[in-house]
Every structure is written in structure tokens, then in C-alpha cells.
């Protein structure tokens, strides 16, 4: 009898998919940081306007979104076949493919590959997958220093910080803070450095060039892995990625298994959707593609590590799997009112914002990130912005149900008891009408002002910042009965 492998969650104790605090607790701290609020508000509103302008240029944007969604749905349905094709083509062109079930396996594979080169320093292309698995820490534990080369990742790394945005990891920092970090942490930096963006970029450029020229090993992620030719592809803005992808002798690429696309033609859709949604550009400045090993040109030793780390488990849910369609553009973060105020660190995962709230709990198992599906007012701005039409609000609601269902059976929480009672009351009109009438007892409150400014827990969370209306003298139901008789 054959069986289907339904996957296992990303393991605990490694990588950055779980926070140490619940979202409400972490958000409370972030909300009080006026500098963070200002930085995020400024950055997200700027990028929202840029995105809206370039998306508005295309008459067929909605058709492109539908095409992107259809391509991803079709690809996920035969993911195994596409991955095996990718493996065959990469291998046929001189690369080596490794399969990593989880973060620990991926970290061990990459560490072993670097150790085999004898090097103790590697340069990195910006990559979410390697942030997810905590690769830098794993390499450090093995005595290997990983240098981030994406400008924003460099700022985060020098600042001893964590990324707070998928595309703009240092979005929580402003120019003045970046200057301070450079002055403090960048060896040999000009002490007269100002916060002028051009000068900050030049300082980073000088710092990074030295590393590019001496690096023998580079580590990257991939935006797309094209199955039918075994080609990997990275899109970026700075050219630092291309430095890493071309100069070193050895290139190791860590790619989540959901990043495979069947053919080059699929990029016709995705390379229109991605830059406009992410940086608000018609086309990103650098698109680098490589296929296996080309003798005498570029890295002569190429390894592709295919990472599961909870993705197969996510794929097992026929609705939830849509989260794997994500092309990591960050449009949903930039339009999210919760992200804009609480910031990326509050989500406790390298995948913050709306997509993080549906992806992280599925990669780890919902109980390990149980507060994330609730970190949304379900306003729907994310769904509208998503270039591959992931219905994030519906996924959030689904994950909330999975969390509630996972906690059934024991002693019900106060919330569960209240919800069950409300369902019982609302299932019949008699009970509902009686409950409505009973709420008039609330009129004992707020008699002098007509509003209620203080209620007991859990409703105190409401009245901490908003008044509550005083229950009416007469409900609509009573008014209708009095005026019109019952129907």
C-alpha cells in the first residue's frame, strides 16, 4: 500500500519562524516607539504610492494577477514532478542538487559544502530562505563568517538586528540611524560620514567591494527555479547580488521548494508582477540567471539546496497551500495597517505582515504561532494588493478555526465558553430577543453621560481607549413589535 507524505512542521530551536512573545505583547512595545512609527509610516506610504502608480499603467493588471494565480495553482498541483525535473536539468548542466527536509538539514549541508572549500568567509545574496533557517548562525557556530551584501541586510547585520520587512529588511531604520550604525560598526569608515543617502551608499560600496573581491564562496536564495532548463534566477536592485553570483568559485543556492516554475514562459507573467508589486518599478535593475556550471565563466562549483522546512505540510491543506504561491514581493506588508503600525519584528518571524501571518503558522504548525492569524483586522487590503491573488483574509480565518479546533476537548477558555453561549442564544429568536432585552441592564451604566467609559474584563480592552454605547431604551425588535406588530 502506498502512502502520501504529508510533511512535518519546521523544527523548533532553529531558524527564525517563531517569536518569543505573542503578537499583541510584541506589538505593544513597537507601538510605543515613535521613531519606528515615523520610519514605517513614511516608508510604507512612499512605496504604496510608487506601486499604485506603476500598477495603474497596465490595462491588463487584473488579468496578470489571474494568470499568476493560475500558474502557481497549477505548479503546486504537480510540485513533485517539477522539482524532479529541476533536479535532472541542474545535474545535467554540472550542478549538484541537495534535498533538505528542514532547517537543520539545510544548515548542515551548506556548512559541509563551505567546509569542503576550506574557506572561513562567505558572501551572501539577500535571501529569505537562509534567514528562515538561521543559516548565518549555523555557519558562525562552525567558525564560518557569513557577510550580508544586500545593503539593507548589511545594515541589519552590522546593527546586530533582525530584518523587519521581506524586501526592505532595514525599513525600520532611517538615514540618521544607518549613519550611526556605519560609524560604529563599519571598519575604516570615514568619520566625517553624513546621513546623505549617496554618501551612505558609497561607504557601503567601498566596504562591500573588498569582500566581493576576496570571496571564494557565495550563498544565495532564488526568486525562481525554472524546471525545464534547470536555471536559477535572482531579481535585485543593487547589483551586489550579481557580484556574489559571478565572482566566487563556489555558489550555493538555498531555494524553498515552492519557488519552482515549470518554464521560462511563466516568467513573462511573474517578471511583470514582481517588480511593480515590490519596489514599485516597471522592471528591477538586475535580473541574474544561471544554469549549472559554465566552464571558465562564473562559479565552477554550483550546489542547489532544495528546502522543505514545513512547506510539504503547508501543501497538504488544500486551502492553506495558497500561502506558498507568494513571490515575496511585500506588497501586502506595505498596504497593511497593522504592519505599518506594529512593524515587522512584532510578528516574531522573518515573514512578517499579512503573508507572514498565514505562512509562518503553517510552516511551524499553527499552535507554535497561534497569535499571528489574529494579527489582522481582516480589512482585505492585502488581498487586493497581492500580485498572485492570495486570499489572505480567508486564510487567516481558516487558521483561526484550526487554532480553536486544536484547543477543543479540554476545559473551555472563557472565550470559547462565551462563543458557545452566544451561538446557543443566537440560534433561536426567543433567546436572542431575551438577551437583547437583558442587555438593557447595561443602562445602569453611563447614566450621566449617555456613554460607558469603563467595563470589566475582557471588555475593558475596549473601554481602555474607546467609549461604549449605552444599550438602548428600546431595541429595534421591540420598536418593530410596538409599531408594526410582529411579522
Amino acid at each position: 500500500m502506498s502512502s502520501t507524505f504529508l510533511g512535518v512542521p519546521a523544527p523548533r530551536g532553529v531558524g527564525h519562524l517563531r517569536g518569543t512573545q505573542t503578537f499583541p505583547d510584541a506589538a505593544r512595545v513597537a507601538l510605543g516607539d515613535s521613531q519606528l512609527r515615523r520610519n514605517l509610516g513614511h516608508a510604507t506610504s512612499t512605496i504604496r504610492a510608487k506601486r499604485a502608480a506603476v500598477v495603474g499603467e497596465l490595462d491588463d493588471w487584473e488579468q496578470l494577477r489571474l494568470a499568476g494565480s493560475a500558474l502557481k495553482t497549477a505548479t503546486m498541483a504537480r510540485l513533485d514532478e517539477h522539482l524532479e525535473r529541476l533536479e535532472r536539468e541542474v545535474t545535467a548542466r554540472g550542478g549538484t542538487v541537495h534535498w533538505a527536509r528542514d532547517a537543520n538539514e539545510a544548515n548542515a549541508i551548506v556548512t559541509r559544502l563551505v567546509q569542503a572549500t576550506g574557506e572561513t568567509e562567505v558572501v551572501k545574496v539577500k535571501s529569505m530562505a537562509t534567514q528562515e533557517i538561521g543559516l548565518n548562525e549555523a555557519l558562525e557556530a562552525a567558525g564560518i563568517e557569513a557577510k550580508e551584501t544586500d545593503l539593507a541586510e548589511l545594515i541589519v547585520q552590522l546593527g546586530g538586528d533582525l530584518p523587519s520587512h521581506i524586501l526592505v529588511p532595514a525599513i525600520h531604520r532611517n538615514r540618521a540611524e544607518i549613519r550611526e550604525i556605519f560609524l560604529r560598526e563599519m571598519p575604516g569608515v570615514d568619520p566625517e560620514l553624513t546621513s546623505e543617502p549617496r554618501l551612505l551608499a558609497m561607504a557601503a560600496r567601498k566596504h562591500l567591494r573588498e569582500r566581493f573581491l576576496r570571496a571564494k564562496v557565495a550563498i544565495s536564495g532564488a526568486n525562481f527555479g525554472i524546471a525545464d532548463t534547470g536555471t536559477l534566477l535572482v531579481v535585485e536592485s543593487e547589483g551586489n547580488g550579481r557580484m556574489c553570483l559571478t565572482l566566487p568559485d563556489t555558489l550555493i543556492t538555498v531555494m524553498g521548494i515552492e519557488k519552482v516554475v515549470p518554464t521560462w514562459q511563466d516568467l513573462e507573467v511573474f517578471l511583470q508582477l514582481l517588480p511593480r508589486s515590490s519596489t514599485g518599478e516597471r522592471m528591477n535593475p538586475y535580473t541574474s540567471a544561471w544554469t549549472g556550471v559554465t566552464p571558465g565563466d562564473g562559479p565552477q562549483d554550483f550546489h542547489l539546496v532544495l528546502l522543505d522546512n514545513g512547506r510539504t505540510a503547508t501543501l497538504a491543506d488544500e486551502v492553506g497551500r495558497a500561502a506558498l504561491h507568494c513571490i515575496k514581493c511585500s506588497a501586502c506588508l506595505n498596504v497593511c495597517p497593522v504592519y505599518e503600525r506594529a512593524g515587522g519584528h512584532a510578528y516574531g518571524s522573518v515573514y512578517p505582515g499579512p503573508i507572514g501571518a498565514v505562512l509562518s503558522p503553517q510552516l511551524t504548525g499553527v499552535e507554535d504561532n497561534a497569535s499571528l492569524p489574529y494579527a489582522s483586522s481582516l480589512c482585505g487590503a492585502c488581498f487586493d494588493a497581492c500580485p498572485v491573488r492570495i486570499d489572505i483574509p480567508s486564510l487567516l480565518v481558516r487558521l483561526r478555526a484550526q487554532h480553536v479546533d486544536a484547543n477543543r476537548g479540554g476545559v473551555p477558555s472563557a472565550e470559547a465558553a462565551a462563543m458557545a453561549a452566544a451561538s446557543w442564544v443566537m440560534s433561536t429568536p426567543g433567546r436572542f430577543g431575551a438577551a437583547e432585552s437583558a442587555s438593557k441592564l447595561g443602562r445602569l451604566l453611563g447614566r450621566s453621560t449617555g456613554r460607558i467609559s469603563s467595563l470589566p474584563p475582557p471588555l475593558s480592552a475596549w473601554t481602555a481607549s474607546r467609549d461604549a454605547p449605552r444599550p438602548p431604551e428600546e431595541t429595534f425588535r421591540q420598536w418593530w413589535a410596538r409599531e408594526r406588530g410582529t411579522s
Binding site: 505593544r28 495597517p337 481607549s465
Partner: protein
């Protein structure tokens, strides 16, 4: 909690010459349960809603959020519970269910309801009306025809007020931060009244404005349209 909204809806529709029936057996659409994760507890509410409203030609609710739940969640709740027959019935009821501005503009073809409301008003397009139902500018078309009223444009109007049902309790701090920005934008217009098509969002915005003694109050769209 907001009987004035229902009364205004009845007043308005009867003034336009329509027969309004309030099936007194109705209770709640169950959105709170569904959106908080208690989908199983929502099933009897969906069933009850379908049974109560099935006999009617057209159903109207002066709430974008409730209509959004009926239209986008009821069938899903039934189907997830394994009751495909209920899901089909829920879909049939949903296709005949309209938010108030949809009913007026799309079904009844009315944009001028003959209202008079001599005040400065700003309109907040609530998230579910805007993005689940796509009511677009229908409420604004109705408001622009209200005599005596000055309609003031709300900055960043499409941003959520932070209500989000139990979100306002579970993530009260983030909700309040969103509310603070919404109130700042409302107050920047100089409006006396902030209006919207959802009593729940208005309870949130109004609760904040009242706590600050801001001097700006909230009224449901139906209340303005019912005024003469």
C-alpha cells in the same frame, strides 16, 4: 445596540414606496464566530439565517460587514461542516442579499432619496463594503444628492479604522493606533458628522471620538438618508 439604524432603514425604504418586512425570528449572521475561529458554532447561526430569509425576494442589511459575511462566508461555513445542501441554500439567499447602498443604487436605481441634512459630513468607506462587496462610490453618490449637506473628503479614507471585530479586543493596542490615525483624519476635515455603512465601525470610531470629547459624532449612512 443601534436600533436607530434599523428604524432609519425602514423609514427610508417606506418613503421610497417599498414594503419592508422584519422577520422577527432573525438573530445574527455569525460573523463574529466565524472570524474568531469558532466556525463550528457559526453553523447553527448560518442555518437559522437561511431558514428565516429563504422566503423573501430581496434581503437588505444596513451593514456591509454582515452582508459580506452572508455573501462570502455562509456557504463556506456550511461546506466546511460537510453540509453541501445548506451551502447551496446559503448561496441562493446570499445572491438576493444586498447592502443598503447596493439595494438603492443597483436594484432600485435611486441615487437621490430626497434627503435633507444641513451639516458638514465626512464618509468612511468601511473595509468590507469597499473590498468584500465592492460598493465603490455608491454611498457617495447617495450622499452627494443629500440637500443642505457639505460632503468633506476624508484623507486616507480606505484605511481600516482598526475595529475588525474581536481584533479590537485581542489586539487592542494596535487597534487603538489605527483608530488614532482614523480620528486624526476625520478631525482634519472639520466635519460635524462622520458617517459609514456599518454600525460596528461607527461604534469604534464614535467610541474614540466621544472619549476624546472631540465634538464630532457618528451617524449611519441610513440615518442621513432618512433625514428630511
Amino acid at each position: 445596540m443601534a436600533p436607530q439604524v434599523g428604524k432609519a432603514t425602514v423609514t427610508l425604504l417606506e418613503r421610497l414606496g417599498h414594503e419592508v418586512v422584519f422577520p422577527s425570528a432573525q438573530t445574527c449572521c455569525g460573523q463574529m464566530h466565524t472570524n474568531t475561529g469558532y466556525q463550528r458554532e457559526a453553523v447553527p447561526l448560518v442555518r437559522h439565517h437561511v431558514e428565516v430569509f429563504e422566503p423573501y425576494d430581496v434581503v437588505v442589511a444596513p451593514s456591509g460587514s454582515c452582508v459580506g459575511s452572508v455573501r462570502h462566508q455562509h456557504a463556506m461555513v456550511a461546506r466546511d461542516a460537510g453540509d453541501d445542501a445548506l451551502a447551496d441554500r446559503a448561496t441562493a439567499v446570499a445572491t438576493r442579499t444586498y447592502e443598503l447602498s447596493e439595494l438603492l443604487v443597483d436594484v432600485l436605481g435611486v441615487e437621490d432619496v430626497g434627503a435633507y441634512f444641513p451639516h458638514r459630513v465626512t464618509y468612511h468607506p468601511t473595509c468590507h463594503s469597499l473590498r468584500m462587496l465592492r460598493v465603490a462610490d455608491k454611498p457617495l453618490r447617495l450622499l452627494r444628492n443629500v440637500r443642505g449637506m457639505t460632503l468633506l473628503e476624508l484623507p486616507a479614507a480606505d484605511q481600516c479604522c482598526g475595529f475588525g471585530g474581536t481584533f479590537a479586543l485581542k489586539n487592542a493596542d494596535t487597534s487603538t493606533a489605527m483608530l488614532a490615525d482614523k480620528m486624526r483624519n476625520v478631525l482634519s476635515t472639520g466635519a460635524e458628522v462622520a458617517t459609514a455603512g456599518d454600525a460596528s465601525c461607527l461604534m469604534h470610531i464614535g467610541g474614540g471620538l466621544s472619549r476624546l470629547q472631540s465634538g464630532t459624532r457618528t451617524l449611519h449612512l441610513a440615518e442621513i438618508l432618512a433625514s428630511t
